[in-house]
Amino acid sequence: MNRYELLNPVYTKKVKKVIKENYRVKTIEIDHYIDALPGQFLMVWVPGVGERPMSIGNSAPLTISVANVGKVSSKICGLKEGDDISYRGPFGKPFLLPKTVRKVLCVGGGYGVVPMYFLAKTAKENRIEAYAVVGAKTAKDIIWEKQLFMVCKEVFVTTDDGSRGKKGTVMAEAEELIGKMDYVCCCGPEKMMEAVAKLCREKKVPCLVSIERYMKCGVGICGSCDINGKLCCLDGPVFSGEDALSLSEFGKCSRDATGRKTR
């Protein structure tokens, strides 16, 4: 008898390359190709420690970028070339652009830059001009800028303290650019995405945002990643700007592991 095929197997593959992005972020290339799209995520498993959702930065080779901020991410950041890495996925709704789009603006704040690179790369492959705005706290927090230069027509940088690029939030650059685009995609802090979605509404430019919530199962069973009854793992993480703005919790509050509202 044949073994049943699983809908969501756990993969274990080798780490191909580890790149140090800055003082706390590492990019990990995996010796695996999966049919992933920009905006989708993996559930990365560290045996005996835990599992976390991670945004996919590239599908060939499969790439993630990890900030060393907790017990699971610190283990992932400690991986070396040739080590095993385990994950399931890809999960979630991706950033999908209509065929008519010619110019897309990719706005990434902080680690939100990672899926924006994957999106810009995919856009370029489909002969869509990609422009990027990269926002970070300070110059040393900027990641994936060089990669973005390879696939974007232009890359604009903003920092909160003005140590690189324009001083201010991504809006310092995005404000002027949005009106010149056919489509805007955005991933980063929720307040930032809310501001971008509102400006896109005002300028009548369609937009997509990627919403993050505390996640447990990743496959639509447990309900932990709920935002106003929508699930970030299945209905999202990518939502249209209009859908996101219609969710009363968007940009306002989130839920912790217990389901209690925070912020």
Partner: protein, 304 residues
Amino acid sequence: MPETAFFGKRIKNPIILASGILGMTKAGLERTCENGCGAVTTKSLTPEPRKGHEGPNIVETESGILNAMGYPNPGIDDGLKEFGGWKREEALIISIAGKDEKEFAGLAKKVDAEKNLGATAVEAVLSCPHTPGYGTMVGQGTPESVGRITAAIKENTKLPLIIKLSPSVPGEIKAAQAAEEGGADAINMGNSLGPGMRIDIHRKKPVLGFAMGGLSGPPIKPIAVRCVYDIYENVKIPIIGTGGINAGVDAIEMMMAGAQWVGVGTAVYYRGADVFGRIAREMEAWMELNGYSKLKEITGAAHE
């Protein structure tokens, strides 16, 4: 055609969202109602908030899925505020999970005292297979324990009480009888089975964060059906049949075994969030094809 009654409330079908699935927020439950449920059950509420187990919380196997959530929930106080003010035509069931009869009594008291809650029933879970201090890990499913906990809850709430039992504990008939004698208004026969374990052979480690977890999905249906069949023969109170229901014919089978309502959970993984309405429509189509006009003709049909 599949409409039925649930403790005095008319509901559109006998499909009940099982506790622990999707029910973290009121909005999530409302959406599940729109996806076709006749009744919905909240996440199990404990006296204090719980984060649940470290991930992975679920892992797929060749035969169903294993999960070990570990009762993540906002705690009874925040939970009742979250779910309260329920006004929909679908019934709301508040699920509670305590460590002993004292905790269960306290939880029931709080459910009872909550103003404008709008719940139709309270369900006490005595059957979680993978949370230390709760359920089958501390023997809550034995007839003595079931009797004690049922009586303690009944003293503290006027709401109809459902006792949720495990298909993994031997003596489920005696446990159901103990619940009935203790004053329970219904039995929910079904929870995930086990605990079981999946080991990743590449990493040489159990995949679940808690190492072991309950098995759910189509493979556990025969066991749930048999448990419901046996309990139906031995108690008079109505039964919710939960375990492995994935399609309309599964629900019919469970009802023929003796269930008045059916709990559905893991089917959302296999067939999507709108599976509840799909199962209800499949039941209706089957009934029409086979000349049944009421669910009453189906419940317990296998015993005639």
